[in-house]
C-alpha cells in the first residue's frame, strides 16, 4: 500500500468505478473501496477519504441511492445501490470510456 505503487486515477473515473462497483450489488462505503481494489487486483488504490464526497455527489445527482442497514459484523452501515438513472449513466459512461480508450489505443499503437 505504499504510495509509489498507487495508480493515479484519471479525473472523473472514480465516479465510473463506484457506479460499476455498486452495480454488482448494494455496498457500504468501505465495501465499495474493497471491491474496487479487489477487481483491480490490488492495482488501484483509492484514497480512503476521497471516496465519500464522490458517493455523496452521485447520490445528490440521483445515480445511486442509500439506505441504512446491518453490516456483516452486525454494525449499522449505510448501503448504496444503483438507481435506474445510475444504471443508464453507467452504460453511457462505459461506452464513452471504451470509445475513448479505443481511440487512444489506436493513436498509441500507430507505427511510423
Amino acid at each position: 500500500m505504499a504510495p509509489d505503487k498507487q495508480q493515479d486515477l484519471l479525473q472523473g473515473t472514480l465516479d465510473l468505478l463506484i457506479l460499476k462497483a455498486v452495480s454488482l450489488g448494494p455496498l457500504h462505503g468501505y465495501g465499495v473501496l474493497l471491491r474496487i481494489q479487489q477487481i483491480s487486483g490490488e492495482e488501484l488504490v483509492i484514497q480512503q477519504g476521497s471516496l465519500y464526497p464522490a458517493l455523496y455527489r452521485l447520490e445528490h445527482r440521483g445515480a445511486i441511492t442509500s439506505e441504512w442497514g446491518e453490516s456483516e459484523n452486525n454494525r449499522r452501515a449505510k448501503y448504496y445501490s444503483l438507481t435506474d438513472l445510475g444504471r443508464a449513466r453507467l452504460g453511457e459512461e462505459t461506452e464513452r470510456w471504451n470509445r475513448m480508450s479505443g481511440i487512444i489505443n489506436g493513436i498509441l499503437s500507430a507505427t511510423p
Binding site: 500500500m1 457500504h28 462505503g29 468501505y30 484514497q47 480512503q48 477519504g49 476521497s50 465519500y52 464526497p53 464522490a54 455523496y56 455527489r57 447520490e59 445528490h60 445527482r61 440521483g62 453490516s71 459484523n73 454494525r75 449499522r76 452501515a77 449505510k78 438513472l85 443508464a88 453511457e92
Partner: protein, 919 residues
C-alpha cells in the same frame, strides 16, 4: 435520457438539497457515523493483517486523510457549501452593521425614505392620472365630448367645460334630447348610455345626510358590463317614463357603512331629496361609477327620476333642449375606427342640435370629439396634473439625494475597509469570496431599507390624499398600493447601493495584496476615492440647496396667504350648509324656512350672532347677476354683471364688515317692504364714479323687473379666493328674495363646533326631519382648505429640505473627517514645521467651504431654472426671490461649515509627534 437528466436537475437535486439543508443535524450525525464505521472496518482489517491495534489505528488514520476536509467536500457535494457560506456572510454582515449603528441607521433610513416616499407619491400620481374605471375592458369605453369655437349655439350648461388648448372650449355635456337622438341614430358605437353625478340630501337608515348620486340611463349597467353583487342593477325597464323608476342601487361603501353588509338591505327604502326610493341592489366593490375612480357616488338611480328628485329650474331637464348637462359614453364597436365614428357622430350631432334648438345667426355648431373613456371624465387630470408633477419632481430629487447619500456612505466605508480586504486576501480568501461577502452586506442593508420603505409607502399612500382633501367632505379616495412602483423605487435605490457598495470592493479585490498593505500605495487609491466622494457631497449640497429654496418659496407663499387682509373677521366663525329641496320648498317656502332656522340658531346658548349667505367666502364659489343703475341701458357689448351675495339681515354685523356710508340691513327690510341692496366700496367706485350711490335705484337681474334701492356702502372684502383681490360686490337680503335654495349659515361663537352641532341638528330637524346640515367647518378651516395645496407643498418641501440638510451635514462631516484622518501625517509635518493650529483649522474649513460653495452655486442655478415652473403655485413671492435664494445658500454654507467644525478642530489638535509616529 435528457428528459431524465432534466427531471434530476429540476426535482431530485433540489429535493436532495432541501433534505440536506433542513435535516442538517441528522446529516452531520450520519456523516460522522459513516466515516467512523469506515475507519472501524479499516482498523479491523489491519489488525487481522497482523498489526498491533495502536499501529492499525495510526495507519488507518493516515490512510483516511483529513476528516474535516472530507466532510467539507461531502457537504459541497450536496450543494451545501454555498448555503453555509451565505449563513456566515449574513452573520458577519449583521455584526458589521450592528457595530456601526449610526451608519446603518442613516443608510437604511435614507433608503427607506426614498423608497417609501416614491412609492406613495407615484402610487397617488398613477391613481390620479392613469387609473381606469373598475369595469371589464375599460379600454373599449369612449367618452363623447364636443369642441366649440366660443360662439357655439350651446349656452345653458351644468357640468364641466374647459378652455381648449387650440382655442375655444371643450365640454363633455349634452342636452337630454340630443342624447336621445344620438342614441337612436347611433350605428358607429355600441349602445350609448348616459349618466350625471350630483349631490343630494338623503335619509339613509334613519339618518339625514348628503350623498353623491349618479343618475344613470337604463342601459348604463349593461353598457359598462357591471353586475350588482346583491340584488339587481338598474335596467331599461326602470326608465319607461319620466318621473318613473323609484329604485336605487347603492355602493358597496354605503352598504357597509349604513347596513353592515346585511342582505336585508334589499327592499328597504331611502329618501332622496324627499322622494322615497327602494333599494334593489348593491354595486360590486371597487366600482365607482363612470365619472372616475376618484369619486365615489353612493346611490345610483334611474336618470328619469331627475325631474322629481333634482329639478333644476322650471322645465324638466329631460325635455329641455337648451340646457346641456348629461354625460354620454359607449363602448367602441369592433371594426369601426374612432375617426370614422367621430365623423359620423359629429354630423349627427349637428343635425340634432339644429333639430332641437333654435340656432341664432352667427352661432356655430359644436364638433363632436370621441375620446378615451377608460378613466371616466378625466376630471382629476386637469385639477391635479400640476401639483402631482411637482410632487413627483420633488420626490425624484429625494430619491436622487438618498442615492447620493448611500453612495457616499458606502464609498467611504469601502475605502475604510480596504485594509481589511487586503488582509483577507493575504490570508487566502478568494476574490470572488470577498466580493460575495460585500455583496451580502450591501444586500442586507438594502433589505432593511427596502422593508422600511415598504412600510412607509404603504402608510403614506393614504396620508397624502388626506392632506389634499378637506376635513369635512367625505372623499373616498381610492389609492391602491402599487407593487410595480414599489419594485421600481426599490430597485433604483438597491442598484445604487449595490453599485457603490461593490465598486470599492472590486477595486480592493483587484489591488495587489502586497501593494495595498504598504503605506505608500494606500494614499493613491484613497485620493481617487476622495474625488468621487467630494463630487457626491457637492451634488448632495446642490440638491439640498434646491430643496431648501423650494421650501423657502412655499413657506413664504403660505405666510403671504395667511397675512392677507380678508376684510371680515374669520375667527370664531362656524359655517354649515342647508339645501332645502326645490320641490318641497317651492314658492318662497325656503325663505321662510331660512328665517325660522336663523331664529332657532340664535336662541342656542353660546351663539353670539347668526347670519346666512348664499355664497360663503373664500370657498371658490361665486355668483353674479346684472347690475343696472337707473339710467343705464342693458348693453350686450358691455359686461354689466357684478358679483353678489344674498345674505341675512345681520350679515355685516356678524361678519365684522364695517359700513362706510349709509346703513346695513335691518328688521325694517322685510319681504314686503322696499327692496334694498348694499354695495361695497369697489362697486361704488366702479359703477358710481363721482356720485353718491346711496338712494339710487338699481335694476337687478335679467328679464324680470327687480328694482332695489342702495341703502349702504360697506368695506371691501375678499370673495371666492385668497389669491384674487377684493372684487366689486353687492348684497341683497334673502328675506326679500322669491327663492334662495342652498344656503350657508354663519355662526359667531366661542364654543367648539362639536359642542354645538347636535343643537343645530335639533333646530333643523324640528323644521324638517329629512333635511341634513352639511359641510360643518369653521371659516378658518374653509380658508385653509383653499390653501391646501400650498400648505401641503410647504410641509413637504420643508420636511424634505430638513432631511436634505441633515443628509448633507452627515455627508460633509464624513468626507472631512475622512480627509483629516488621512492627512494626519501631513498635518503633523505642517505643525512640526511651525504651522499654527488656527491655520490648520482654517485650511480644513476652507476646503469644506469650497466644496459647499460649489454645491450651493450649482443648487442655486438649478433652483433659478426650476422654480419658474411653479410660479403659478406661488403667492406674494417671485420664483427668483433673492432673499430666499441667498438665505437658502447661506444656510447650506453655514451647515457645511458647522459640520466640518469638528474635523477641523481635530486637525488643529493633532500632536506632531503622535502624528509622525502614527503610521
Amino acid at each position: 435520457m435528457s428528459l431524465r437528466a432534466l427531471f434530476v436537475r429540476v426535482i431530485s437535486q433540489p429535493r436532495s438539497w432541501m433534505r440536506a439543508a433542513l435535516g442538517r443535524e441528522r446529516l452531520e450525525t450520519e456523516m460522522d457515523a459513516e466515516l467512523a464505521s469506515h475507519l472501524e472496518q479499516l482498523i479491523g482489517d489491519l489488525v487481522r493483517a497482523g498489526h498491533s491495534p495502536a499501529e492499525a489505528a495510526r495507519r488507518a488514520r493516515v490512510a483516511m486523510g483529513p476528516m474535516l476536509v472530507h466532510k467539507e467536500e461531502m457537504r459541497a457535494s450536496l450543494g451545501l457549501k454555498w448555503w453555509d457560506e451565505l449563513g456566515a456572510d449574513l452573520k458577519y454582515g449583521l455584526r458589521i452593521l450592528r457595530k456601526s449603528p449610526g451608519f446603518t441607521a442613516i443608510a437604511a433610513g435614507s433608503l427607506a425614505l426614498a423608497i417609501g416616499a416614491n412609492t406613495a407619491i407615484f402610487s397617488i400620481a398613477k391613481s390620479l392620472l392613469y387609473d381606469r374605471l373598475g369595469v371589464p375592458h375599460p379600454e373599449q369605453l369612449r367618452l363623447l365630448s364636443w369642441h366649440g369655437d366660443g360662439n357655439q349655439a350651446v349656452h345653458g350648461m351644468w357640468g364641466d367645460f374647459d378652455d381648449a388648448p387650440e382655442g375655444g372650449m371643450v365640454s363633455n355635456i349634452f342636452s337630454y334630447p340630443v342624447y336621445l337622438d344620438l342614441r337612436a341614430q347611433n350605428r358607429s358605437l355600441q349602445d350609448l348610455f348616459a349618466f350625471k353625478n350630483d349631490g343630494m340630501n338623503a335619509t339613509v337608515a334613519g339618518q339625514a345626510q348628503r350623498v353623491q348620486t349618479e343618475m344613470v340611463s337604463g342601459n348604463y349597467y349593461a353598457g359598462l358590463g357591471v353586475r350588482s353583487q346583491l340584488g339587481r342593477a338598474i335596467q331599461p325597464s326602470d326608465e319607461t317614463e319620466y318621473g318613473a323608476g323609484t329604485v336605487a342601487v347603492i355602493s358597496d361603501g354605503l352598504w357597509e357603512r349604513a347596513y353592515g353588509r346585511s342582505p336585508a338591505v334589499l327592499g328597504q327604502t331611502i329618501t332622496l331629496n324627499q322622494s322615497v326610493m327602494t333599494i334593489v341592489g348593491v354595486n360590486p366593490r371597487g366600482f365607482t361609477g363612470a365619472k372616475g375612480v376618484q369619486v365615489s357616488p353612493e346611490v345610483f338611480v334611474p336618470i328619469t327620476m331627475l325631474p322629481v328628485i333634482d329639478p333644476k329650474g322650471d322645465k324638466s331637464l329631460l325635455e329641455d333642449p337648451d340646457t346641456w348637462w348629461v354625460n354620454i359614453m359607449a363602448r367602441a364597436k369592433p371594426g369601426v375606427d374612432d375617426t370614422q365614428a367621430q365623423a359620423v357622430l359629429s354630423s349627427q350631432l349637428e343635425a340634432d342640435v339644429r333639430a332641437t334648438m333654435q340656432v341664432k345667426p352667427g352661432e356655430t355648431m359644436p364638433h363632436l370629439v370621441l375620446s378615451d373613456g377608460s378613466r371616466g371624465l378625466h376630471a382629476a387630470e386637469g385639477m391635479f396634473k400640476k401639483p402631482v408633477a411637482v410632487l413627483m419632481a420633488l420626490t425624484g430629487f429625494v430619491l436622487l439625494l438618498a442615492c447620493a447619500n448611500i453612495a457616499n456612505l458606502l464609498l467611504a466605508r469601502g475605502a475604510r475597509r480596504q485594509r481589511e480586504m487586503s488582509v483577507r486576501l493575504a490570508l487566502g480568501a478568494g476574490r470572488v469570496r470577498v466580493l460575495r461577502q460585500l455583496l451580502t452586506e450591501s444586500l442586507l442593508l438594502a433589505g432593511i431599507g427596502g422593508l422600511g420603505g415598504l412600510l412607509l409607502g404603504y402608510a403614506g399612500r393614504n396620508l397624502l390624499p388626506a392632506l389634499m382633501s378637506n376635513g369635512w367632505e367625505r372623499n373616498e379616495f381610492n389609492v391602491h398600493f402599487d407593487w410595480g412602483i414599489f419594485a421600481f423605487a426599490a430597485s433604483v435605490t438597491l442598484v445604487t447601493g449595490l453599485l457603490f457598495g461593490l465598486a470599492p470592493a472590486w477595486l480592493a479585490a483587484r489591488a495587489e495584496v502586497s501593494s495595498s498593505l504598504k503605506e505608500a500605495a494606500q494614499t493613491t487609491t484613497r485620493r481617487r476615492r476622495g474625488v468621487a466622494g467630494k463630487f457626491l457631497v457637492a451634488f448632495q449640497i446642490a440638491l439640498s440647496t434646491l430643496l431648501v429654496v423650494g421650501a423657502g418659496l412655499f413657506l413664504r407663499t403660505v405666510f403671504s396667504l395667511n397675512s392677507i387682509d380678508l376684510g371680515f373677521r374669520a375667527d370664531h366663525l362656524l359655517l354649515f350648509e342647508v339645501h332645502p329641496p326645490a320641490r318641497r320648498y317651492a314658492g318662497g317656502k325656503d325663505v321662510e324656512l331660512d328665517a325660522r332656522l336663523e331664529e332657532g340658531f340664535a336662541a342656542i346658548p353660546g351663539v353670539e350672532a347668526v347670519t346666512a349667505a348664499t355664497t360663503p367666502y373664500i370657498a371658490e364659489t361665486m355668483g353674479n347677476d346684472f347690475f343696472l343703475p337707473e339710467g343705464e341701458k342693458q348693453d350686450d357689448q358691455k359686461d354689466q354683471a357684478e358679483f353678489f351675495n344674498v345674505v341675512g339681515n345681520g350679515f355685516f354685523n356678524t361678519m365684522g364688515i364695517p359700513m362706510v356710508a349709509g346703513r346695513p340691513f335691518g328688521v325694517e327690510d322685510a319681504a314686503t317692504s322696499q327692496k334694498v341692496i348694499v354695495i361695497n366700496q369697489s362697486l361704488a367706485r366702479k359703477r358710481f364714479p363721482n356720485e353718491n350711490p346711496i338712494g339710487k335705484m338699481v335694476k337687478i337681474g335679467f328679464g324680470e323687473e327687480n328694482q332695489a334701492r342702495i341703502v349702504g356702502i360697506c368695506r371691501d372684502t375678499l370673495y371666492a379666493s385668497l389669491r384674487e383681490p377684493a372684487p366689486p360686490q353687492f348684497f341683497a337680503p334673502y328675506r326679500q328674495q322669491k327663492h334662495v335654495g342652498g344656503i350657508t349659515f354663519m355662526i359667531r361663537t366661542r364654543l367648539a363646533s362639536a359642542r354645538l352641532v347636535a343643537s343645530f341638528r335639533d333646530v333643523v330637524q324640528k323644521q324638517d326631519r329629512d333635511l341634513p346640515i352639511i359641510n360643518i367647518r369653521t371659516q378658518q378651516e374653509q380658508i385653509d382648505a383653499t390653501m391646501q395645496q400650498e400648505r401641503m407643498f410647504a410641509a413637504l418641501t420643508t420636511g424634505f429640505g430638513v432631511l436634505a440638510l441633515a443628509l448633507a451635514c452627515v455627508g460633509i462631516y464624513g468626507i472631512m473627517a475622512y480627509s483629516v484622518a488621512n492627512r494626519t501625517n501631513e498635518i503633523g509635518i505642517r505643525l512640526a514645521l511651525g504651522a499654527q493650529p488656527g491655520q490648520v483649522r482654517r485650511m480644513i474649513l476652507r476646503e469644506s467651504g469650497w466644496l459647499a460653495s460649489a454645491g450651493v452655486v450649482v443648487g442655486v442655478a438649478a433652483a433659478l431654472a426650476l422654480t419658474r415652473l411653479v410660479k403659478s403655485m406661488l403667492y406674494g413671492v417671485q420664483p427668483w426671490d433673492p432673499a430666499t435664494l441667498v438665505a437658502g445658500g447661506l444656510l447650506l454654507l453655514a451647515v457645511a461649515l458647522a459640520a466640518s467644525w469638528i474635523p477641523a478642530r481635530r486637525a488643529a489638535g493633532v500632536q506632531p509627534m503622535d502624528a509622525l509616529r502614527h503610521e
